[in-house]
Amino acid sequence: MRKLIKPLVFVLALVPFAILLLRIFQNNLGPDPVQELSLETGEWTLRFLIIALAMTPLRRITAQVEFTRHRRMLGLFALFYATLHLAVWLVFLLEFRWVAMAEEIFERPYITVGFSAYLILLALGLTSPRVMVRKLGKNWKRLHKLVYVAAVLGVVHLLWILRLDIGPAVFYGALVALLLGYRAWFSLKSRRV
C-alpha cells in the first residue's frame, strides 16, 4: 500500500500538465493562449513550491514520516512547472530573441525577481540527488534553505504582475508567511530545548 503512494503523488502532480496539454491540443486556451499558458504554469509553480514547503510542518504536526518522503519530488515538480513557465516566455513570447531576453531580465524588476527565483530552484534541483546531499554535507542544508527566498521572490513576482486587485498575491503570500513563520517558531523552540 505504502509503495503505491509515491507513484500516485507523481501522477497527481502531472495532472495540471496533462490538462494544459489537452487544452493545447483542443485549442481551448482562449484568444490569448500564450498569456493563459504563462499564467497557468506560473501559478502551478507557486502552488507546488508551497505544497513542498508544507511537507515538513505536516510531518511534525501529524508525526507521519510519509509527508517528507515526497518533499523532494514535489520540490522537483515546482522546478518542472517553473521550467515550463520560463519556456513559454522564451519560446512563445520572446520567440528566442536572446538579446531581448537579457534586456528584460535586467530592465524589468518583476522579471529580475522571477528569474532569480528560477535560478534558485534550478540550483536546488541540481543538488537534489542523494550523491549531492552527501557531497555537500552541512552546506546542503544551508543551500536548501534558499527555497524560502525563492518562494518569497515568487510571491513578489506575482504581486508585480497584478495590476488592480492583489488578492492572489495576498493569498499565496499569506501561505508562504505562515510556513516561514512556523519554521522560525520551530527552530527557535528547538534551540531553547
Binding site: I24, P31, L164, D165, I166
Partner: protein, 347 residues
Amino acid sequence: MLIKKPSDIKPSEITPESVYRNRRQFIGDGSKFLLGAAAASAMPSLANAQTGDSLKARAPVTMQRTPPAAWWADKFADIKPAPDSEPFYTGEALTPYEDVTQYNNFYEFGMNKGDPSSNSGSYKADPWSVEITGEVAKPGTYNLEDILKPHDLEERIYRLRCVEAWSMVIPWVGFPLADLIKRFEPTSKAKFVEFETLVDAETMPGIRSRFSIVDWPYREGLRMDEAMNPLTLMAVGVYGDYLPPQNGAPLRLIVPWKYGFKSIKAIVKINFRETMPNTTWVDLQSQEYGFYANVNPDVHHPRWRQDTERRLPQTLFSRSRIATRPFNGYGEQVASMYEGMDLSRYY
C-alpha cells in the same frame, strides 16, 4: 486634417442646439436635391443601408442579445454601415464576436479576462441615466433614451490596442462624442471632459473584492480637442448588436488611438472642467500610466515592451505578433493635436 485646439474654438463657433436639433431638416433639404440629381441606380444601396442589412459585421444569430428596452430595437434598426475606407474602417481581419465578448478587462466584474462575461448576469443596463455636470450651459440628468434620440447610429471598425500589448479589430456601433457634447453647450472654460463608470456593488462583484486597490468609481478623461475629434466614438453596440455588459453596456467611450483603458465603459457621469482630471490609472501608478495614454511603440510600459502587440485571437502555433504603430495607426487624424508635445514625457 485641421483640428483646432479647444482654446481656439470660440463658444460662438459651436453649433447652437436649435440649429443642431433641426439638422435633419437641413440635411433633408440638401439630400432631396442630391437624390433628384442622382441616378436611380443609387437607390437600392441607399435603401439597403437604411434597413441595416449591409452592415459589415453582425453578431452570430445564436448569440444576439435581447434589447435592454423596447426602444433600443428601433434605434438599432437603422445603423449606417461602415465606409470602405480608413479611418472609420479597417480591412484587417475582425476579431470574432466570441472573443470580443469573452476576453475583457472590466475590473468591476473581476480580474480575469473571462470574469466580466461570466460575472455580469445580474447587471442591468436599463433603465439608465447619465449625469452631465460642470462647465456646460445645459447640465442635468438625462435618460439614455433622450441622450441617444437625436443621434443616428453608425458602424465603425476600429483597432483596439490594450496597454497589455494585445490588440483586436472590432466593429462598434455608435455616434461621434462631439455631436453629444455640442448638445450640452460647453462653456469656454470646458477644457477637459471627465467620465465615470457605474458603481453597483450588488451587480458588480469586482467592487466587493477586499484586495482591490482601486478607489471606485473608475474615472477617465480626455482633453476637449480629443473628445471632439471625429474618431472619438460613443458606442452603444458591437457587431451590429447591443453592447453586452462586459463590453460596457449601455454606453461606452471608444478612443482608438489611445490604449484601451481610456475607452471607459458603462458611463454614468460626464463632467466638463477647466483642469485636467485625475484618472483611475494615473492615481494608481503615475509612473506607468499617463493621462494621454496614446499608443506609442517608443515609450515602453515600465513592466513590458510596447513596440509589438499580439493580435487576437491567436493559437499557440499561429501567433501573429505585429508591430505597434504610433497612435495605433491613426496618426494622420490625431498627431496634429500633440504637435510640440514631448510624447515620452506626456505618455
